[in-house]
């Protein structure tokens, strides 16, 4: 697997679209809500996208003791991921009828 590009599936496009639409860091639960994906599908996909360097992730800044709950893992698109997302979503939009995709 390594840095090889993940397959562009509907789920991949949905996740990329969620990031492009929000334009900010998203947690797994937020992506689930936005992309309407189940947790069983989402996390393997996020892992693959992270391995391909399309996404990067970090923990919330605060410590769990301060938050009083487990920290959220926040994901965001990398430069490579944003390029791929723009290209793939643009191609999909063209296929669907001339719509264009512009990141926020």
């Amino acid at each position: 697997m390594g840095n090889s590009s993940p397959r562009i599936t509907t789920q991949t496009l949905t996740v990329l679209a969620a990031f492009m639409s929000s334009g900010r860091e998203l947690s797994g639960a937020e992506i689930t809500r936005t992309a309407k994906l189940q947790s069983g599908t989402l996390y393997p996909l996020l892992s693959r996208l992270e391995q391909a360097n399309w996404l990067e992730s970090r923990w919330e800044d605060c410590a769990p003791s301060e938050l009083g709950r487990p920290r959220r893992r926040l994901y965001r698109l990398t430069g490579v991921g944003a390029l791929v997302a723009t290209k793939e979503l643009g191609a999909m939009a063209k296929t669907l009828g001339g719509l264009t995709w512009e990141p926020c």
Partner: protein, 170 residues
């Protein structure tokens, strides 16, 4: 007779309502525990290097999910996610990739133990389900089906003239 039936029906309705309420309350009380258990089961299936990260991430995901049933469904999904992540990890290891990520090679013995424990748990759940189904079927069937005394209860057609009530025989 009618009054007795009405009383029995009322008692039955009340009993059913109380039982249903109790079952729902029990279910609600057990849901957080089941959710935690599912997360732990899922985390247990993962490679060691991913366990801490996923435990914290998935626990926070469940907390962000509204509703107890919703939390439970999300937690069930983690089982599938853990399987997929482990398969990806094994593919990564078998391909001999130099990409290390945060994975650590699990001990073969511990993985074998994990597999055995997981399989045993799944088998136990299957056996319990089979027993539960068998118990339900047994309750649904009449226990003592005496075809001579109660032919209609056994689904037999009463064709013998002697079985017909006398006032109906012309």
């Amino acid at each position: 007779m009618g009054a007795l039936l009405a009383v029995l029906a009322a008692v039955g309705t009340v009993s059913l309502t109380v039982s249903a309420t109790l079952i729902v309350e029990e279910f609600k009380a057990w849901t957080p525990w089941m959710t935690r258990w599912l997360i732990e089961r899922s985390v247990f299936r993962l490679p060691e290097g991913l366990q801490d990260r996923c435990r914290e991430e998935w626990s926070s995901h469940v907390l962000e999910t509204p509703g107890k049933i919703g939390k439970l469904i999300v937690a069930f999904g983690f089982l599938r996610a853990a399987n997929a992540l482990t398969l990806d990890y094994l593919a990564l290891v078998s391909s001999g990739s130099s990409l290390t990520l945060s994975f650590k090679m699990p001990e073969p013995e511990s993985r074998r133990g994990a597999f055995t424990a997981s399989t045993l748990t799944n088998l136990l759940i299957m056996v319990l389900l089979i027993l539960f189904t068998a118990a339900i079927r047994r309750v649904e069937q009449p226990r003592h089906c005496n075809s001579q005394m109660y032919p209609s209860a056994c689904g037999l057609i009463v064709s013998h003239p002697s079985a017909t009530p006398r006032h109906l025989v012309r």
